[in-house]
Symmetry: C3
Subunit: 449 residues, 3 copies
């Protein structure tokens, strides 16, 4: 059986991979164009040189060519062979020098001698090359010719944004970034999961929440985006997630939002718990503003948005991170699609969450008469659904939402939500909001009479 999503995701990956992305410029823009084939992205632009929040947007950086040639005539660190070879935002340079003079400009990972590191210098003028440590060790003494043919020019930083409306203006945010050249899990996995997740949410017949999908450059781009949308997001976002590090098959890592137990955190953890009730196969991390991705901006104290991040192998923690080894061999497209499905479950959990009110709160309602409880009582009966029903009725006091009832009862939220629909049809439960409205109109009537 051919899975068309499996073919499509690899195709997207292969087209995005070679583009010379950076925080702005042609590579970023071309990548957004490809993403827009799946998500109808609106483009936001921020002129270089302007101030966004506390940051000054630097110029656009483009590279015509970059390499160095050894005394043996060999060409090293050719940007056109691998765009990781050049430190991002390297300033132009042409000249000759000895190996000793060149070495301070070379970056390697001695502990991973076959990997090219990924290095950036966005805000300090310097040039440099990244190469694997084995090659570095083999460089002969002698005179080197260095070429960094880069240019800086005015232009625009960009974000891509798409909003899928729902019944409520309350929003769920999914954000990812698109600024790293040739990184697989710690870059392309994020936008790709975002695109396939968009596809699923767009296909939903009904959406309680409005969904916002955002693609930025990490850090400076997120800050530019927040300079335009920050106050709006502060009003609207009820839960959000940064999509990154979603390429491999390692156990899940969930990083909590700054709020600590926000709706985003409860939804993600309820899905992980259902997947793995023994809680052996995933890790939960408290919020940490000193490492990570865009959540550092979304969760800055002025915004303090309920934004977490569900990942596989987490930034900094896997050896291939920020090196040429974070490539197509490292990732699994099946895992990426499984991650899409996992985020879909989080969406389903969020959509089904609700505060219910038991309309017969005095004693248990007679479930047997409604065929909601086995009418023959004998040992070893399978009564899982009946027991979940009793939990739901007992805690449906207008104080607990389904996430809390799920946490206390250990029954999955989707089972509880399904039972709630049954009980609603039976006239045993009503949504707290409906109950409130009813109380409201009753009061109005009283006032009028």
């Amino acid at each position: 059986m051919v899975d068309s999503r499996r073919i499509k995701i690899e195709d997207m990956f292969d087209r995005l991979w070679p583009l010379p992305r950076s925080i702005a410029g042609q590579g970023f823009s071309d990548s957004l164009d490809i993403m827009a084939e799946m998500i109808p992205l609106k483009r936001l632009q921020y002129p270089t040189g302007t101030k966004v929040l506390d940051w000054h947007l630097p110029k656009i950086w483009e590279v015509r060519s970059a390499y160095f040639i050894g005394p043996n005539g060999k060409k090293y660190a050719d940007f056109h062979k691998n765009n990781l070879h050049l430190v991002s935002y390297s300033v132009p340079f042409k000249g000759k020098m000895t190996l000793d003079e060149l070495k301070p400009h070379l970056y390697t990972l001695p502990s991973l001698p076959k990997a090219i590191p990924y290095a950036t210098s966005f805000f300090e003028e310097r040039w440099g090359f990244c190469l694997n440590h084995e090659e570095y060790e083999s460089l002969p003494e002698g005179e080197y010719e260095v070429v960094v043919d880069s240019v800086f020019k005015d232009g625009f930083f960009e974000s891509g944004e798409c909003v899928l409306p729902g019944e409520s203006k309350d929003e769920i945010l999914f954000s990812s970034y698109l600024c790293h050249p040739s990184m697989a899990s710690n870059e392309l996995s994020g936008p790709l999961v975002l695109a396939f997740l968009y596809e699923k949410i767009a296909a939903m017949k009904q959406r309680k929440y409005t969904y916002r999908f955002v693609l930025n450059a990490e850090t400076v781009g997120t800050i530019a985006y927040l300079s335009k949308r920050g106050q709006e997001l502060k009003q609207k976002v009820k839960a959000g997630y940064v999509l990154t590090c979603l390429g491999d098959q390692a156990p899940f890592n969930y990083k909590r939002s700054r709020q600590g137990n926000s709706l985003a955190d409860q939804a993600a953890l309820s899905v992980l718990k259902e997947l793995d009730p023994s809680r052996q196969q995933y890790f939960v991390h408290d919020f940490d503003p000193s490492r990570g991705s865009e959540e550092r901006q979304y969760c800055s104290p002025g915004y303090d948005l309920p934004v977490g991040s569900l990942m596989r192998s987490m930034y900094n923690d896997y050896k291939e991170y920020h090196s040429s080894l974070d490539n197509k061999d490292f990732i699994s497209f099946d895992a990426m699609l499984a991650n899409v499905d996992l985020y879909s479950k989080i969406v389903a959990a969020l959509e089904s969450n609700q505060i219910w009110v038991n309309l017969n709160p005095y004693g248990e309602p007679q479930l047997g008469r409604r065929n909601l409880y086995p009418n023959l009582n004998v040992r070893s009966h399978d009564v899982r659904r009946a027991r979940a029903t009793m939990w739901l009725l007992n805690l449906a006091d207008g104080q607990h939402d389904l996430f809390q009832i799920s946490e206390r009862s250990q029954y999955p939220i989707l089972l509880l939500a399904d039972i709630a629909q049954t009980l609603k049809k039976e006239g045993l439960l009503v949504e707290a909001s409906a109950k409130k409205q009813e109380a409201g109109s009753a009061k109005n009537l009283t006032v009028k009479s």
Copy 2:
């Protein structure tokens, strides 16, 4: 030495055991009569066919005879030999059928081949027999003659209730049920412990609390009782316990009230902790509305009464549960009387709980001068009582009751209560309520002057 309680409890058990109890009817009524020999029970009645809260009370069910006769002429599952043989509330049936036709009406416990299961079908019209799996396996092929000579008639559901007044209208509730035929620990242990506990509490010279003792049919009967008394209990009950599963010698199981750390929970746990400071020999369970007994009704969200349950082997968790093996061999009358004493200790803890106010809160009072502290200070002195005294004085700030002081200091509440009386005599402590009244009259005086 003959223990008259030991003789009496076994005698009561032997008389109650054979009565064909169900949720209403002659067996239930006769059982209440026997209980009334020890507790002066008031009877509450609810006519069949009426609605109590969300439930419809079914008719009274009585059985004249029930059995089936095999092709070998043998009589099987004779109700008169063991009233567990007939599924409770079986509808009348007379007829002949093959073994294959009969089998869907037969219930066994393959994992306990010598046990007859206990089965009920109160709200669905069916008939059925329960028998041990060995006998079931030995049934010969051929024609069977089936007789279920049962009748349904109008009448009354009943509760038995007794209230022992105390100084305060605040109540402690003890509730148990009396509707299972021939079950020892998961039935008769409850009413019997209730009766002997009543005897002890009735003999107390002074009662701070009012005590209410209730006997219902489980579930539907408790609901009928709450339809009459629910709102009153909601006002009055400060702590309550469902008495069930008190027949064997297994380690204790305490099931918390829905409130989680109510006065009932604190009192029960303080007694268990004193009994077993290492906390090795008992188990504490969070409230669970999906299993258990009458607390499911008392702790329904509309009432949310502070009602827990202290048990030995807990329903569902012991293999003999709801089968003919939960019989006189399974239980121990000595254990039952020990359980009475344990509940008495809970009563003593509740009675002695109090908020005390230290009248010399600045620095320690001079205990030595009052002979409350060793006046020779040398190492290895036994100062347990003196140390508990210091804890009590330090936390007697009008904010902590004795349960909280016991929890923080690890000294038993009864020791603390005893010390409090000493300190009161010395003029060092006063009850918070007395302090308040005093403050009140002082204020009045000020106002008057």
Copy 3:
């Protein structure tokens, strides 16, 4: 290298050791005189016979000589050889008696047969001798001559007190006691650490807090002191510590204040945590009013001061406690000076604690441009300070003080405080109090205009 503190502390110890200290009188007064060479102590006096809080101050007790002579002519338990030999506050006695008549007046520690116990009887008239168990066992039968030549007279109880002013009237309290004869760790270590800590705090160029240093007799003296200063301390003391059991090299024990997590507790624990991040080498004890030292008075419910105690081997827990084995051999002067340094770190932590407000709370500020973040981003960079900076900025929301930020981020408070100063210079942070004032004056301006 000669450490002058090391020489001085041993000299002070040697001079204080032989003085016949008790809760009042010449020995106490002479000891205060020696302490006053290092701390300019103000003396507070309380006449004997008066009532302080709930206590009656007993008379001054002085001993001219005390011993007993055996039938063998040997002199035993000579007070002039070791002032532990006489039970403190022994009443005068002269007479002859048999060994059997003498024995009820003799105190020993059978489990430590070479140690003389320390015993007191301040409030009950008795006389007694303490001796080592070996000597006790060797006492011959026969007639003994007993001499207790003690006198009781009117006079004064005393406290020594010194206040070092700071910018704020809020106070940090250090208290110790000076009433045990010939006890090294459980007595002299306290006053000596207090004196050297005073020296350090007096030398500070700037003090945010006012510091109060107090020397009392334990219990009754502390109560006398509180009778004069209690209400003032209740207003002013923000954190305090009782200095005792600071003589040996054992792992630290910290006893929390009654409040449980007061500023005193947070400061002490933050320093211990920095010293020993694995938390293996120190113990934290909840407040216990039934054992301990002056904190029993400071933390009595009427005052409830935030006073804890950081100790080495803790009273009652080491075998040498309250015996002649708690002597110069048991202690280490280097450890005592290390304890001075540890308390200095607590002072530094308290002084540096502050609530900061991030002036750019929307997104991260651009740290690279301010040289606060590595401007080359490549793996394995040492970014400890940068990461602590990000934590501080993220939690500097006016709700968290540095102790809370340290607890959540696991970075030491002194590092965070140092970073805060840098960020303040950069205009990124401001003290919450300054922010408030600013808001206040802005409001005033608005009102005026």
